[in-house]
């Protein structure tokens, strides 16, 4: 089945479930994706009335993680007294994971949330396509068969879908939300754990310290510290982020590579055991840095050390919120 038909099926199931939720008065609002205002993008939308349900859509450019709007709760999702409305949310696998994460961290009440689950069929790697097209202006993007067709003024380019999908989506094992029927309408599954070898970063880890430094410096050097990755991340909900603190200032706001390293190192430590592997940070990066490279490593550390995968259920505490006497400590300095 081509990617086009798959998307059509997903769209009809989303709209059907959304209508059902609004009809039966199970939710007050529905957050979902709508067609983007510019090509190669999508726009989040809040649906309140049944007649607007047809604006909801799904294509492989819906890279945003909608759980971003739940913590801190957007004013549009509150009633006049500031309490949360009952929210329906179009949830691909990683949105479901983010909701579970926020529920474990007590940032939201799962009883207010109703997920509209479906089997996600992957997200297109925008930066890869943008990079290949270069400076030409994109006017339209069409999914047909197994290809992504990007059109511009008197030019057209075909990209095979399975090659231009996000690296994260290639290894993704949580296609639909990992939750129970009580919180989900449509497709969902109950996952205990996932099996992942993390073979994609093995080659890099085998390199010497200097080679690693040079490689990371090479990919991070273009970062402009715009903090788009932070804004898009569903796990970054601090009231005052460390980059905004000015007493003390933790690192310089220059594009000197040591400042950039500091930002990405500290961001990584904050996301350890919390990253839900949605790839939103990479997708929104204006200079196309592959941040998934770092978050994959984080996932690997947490999986190997604490045997934990974030966002699979709303009960087990993430490792960094917990402690255990029996943790391994082979990295500690010991007497000979």
């Amino acid at each position: 089945m081509g990617i086009e038909e798959e998307n059509k099926e997903i769209i009809s199931s989303i709209r059907e479930n959304a209508k059902k939720l609004l009809n039966e008065n199970q939710v007050d609002v529905i957050i979902g994706y709508s067609e983007g205002t510019v090509p190669l993008s999508s726009t989040p939308i809040i649906v309140r009335k049944e007649e607007d349900v047809d604006k909801l859509t799904w294509n492989n450019l819906c890279y945003m993680n909608l759980a971003r709007y739940l913590a801190p709760l957007m004013p549009q999702l509150c009633d006049s007294e500031g309490n949360s409305l009952r929210i329906g949310i179009v949830a691909k696998g990683c949105v479901g994971r983010a909701i579970n994460l926020l529920a474990v961290e007590k940032q939201l009440d799962l009883d207010n949330i109703k997920m509209i689950g479906f089997n996600c069929n992957g997200i297109v790697n925008r930066s890869k396509i943008n990079m290949e097209i270069g400076e030409k202006e994109i006017l339209d993007v069409i999914f047909s068969g197994d290809d992504i067709i990007v059109k511009g003024k008197d030019w057209e380019k075909k990209f095979p879908y399975d090659q231009y999908i996000n690296e994260l989506c290639k290894v993704c094992q949580v296609k639909s939300p990992s939750t129970t029927d009580a919180h989900c309408i449509g497709e969902c599954q109950e996952l205990e754990s996932i099996h992942d070898e993390f073979s994609d970063i093995d080659d890099f880890e085998a390199k010497s310290v200097q080679e690693k430094w040079d490689y990371i410096k090479d990919i991070l050097q273009v970062c402009t510290l715009c903090y788009s990755c932070r804004q898009a991340c569903p796990a970054c909900y601090c009231n005052l982020c460390f980059v905004d603190q000015n007493k003390p200032i933790w690192f310089g706001k220059t594009t000197e590579y040591r400042d950039i390293f500091t930002f990405h190192l500290i961001r990584a430590t904050h996301l350890a055991g919390r990253c839900v592997a949605c790839g939103a940070c990479s997708s929104v990066c204006p200079v196309g840095i592959d941040l998934n490279f770092i978050t994959r490593k984080l996932e690997k550390i947490v999986k190997k050390r604490f045997d934990y995968t974030s966002g699979l259920n709303a009960e087990i505490l993430p490792p960094m919120m917990d402690f255990d006497m029996k943790d391994t400590q082979e990295f500690m300095l010991e007497e000979d």
């Binding site: 430094w213 990371i216 040591r258 400042d259 190192l265 500290i266 430590t269 947490v302 960094m320 402690f323």
Partner: protein, 151 residues
């Protein structure tokens, strides 16, 4: 061998690392104290910062120390189970584990950042471990990669 090369080598031999040590108030700081009053020699390369608990040590502190040009960082706390605040060092241990692996992933020599446990009664152990940490950092050489030039 020309004169300049000889001079450079001299500088290299004279070079001593500067290491910042975050010691927990209840065990390691007292351990350092004990090493002092027992007249156990340990390298003078460390500059001590007293913190209430090893759990107080934020990964920021460690990265910021490297950014500010310290050649090495040592964090020391009570042995697991002995924490004055019950579980502070256990929480810290998880953080350190992740930070240590991340630093290595980013291509910063993992030997620059060392974690250890030393209780208030272990003056000797404290001195031995500080000697070891100083040796590791000395072999790595000055922290030029990550130090930020402020001017």
């Amino acid at each position: 061998m020309t004169q300049t090369v000889l001079e450079e080598k001299k500088v290299d031999e004279k070079w001593e690392p500067k290491i910042i040590a975050f010691l927990c108030n209840w065990c390691s700081y007292a351990g350092a104290d004990l090493a002092g009053v027992s007249r156990i020699q340990y390298p003078p390369n460390i500059r001590i910062v007293r913190v209430p608990c090893s759990g107080r040590v934020n990964p920021y502190f460690i990265i910021k120390s490297l950014l500010d040009g310290w050649d090495g960082v040592v964090v020391s706390g009570c042995h697991p189970g002995d924490c004055h605040y019950i579980s502070g060092n256990l929480v810290a241990r998880r953080r350190f584990a992740i930070l240590k692996e991340l630093l290595e992933f980013f291509g910063i020599e993992p030997g620059r950042v060392n974690f250890m446990w030393a209780s208030a009664a272990e003056g000797e152990r404290f001195a031995v471990l500080i000697r070891k940490a100083t040796k590791i950092v000395k072999e790595l050489g000055p922290n030029t990669k990550f130090q930020k030039k402020w001017c």
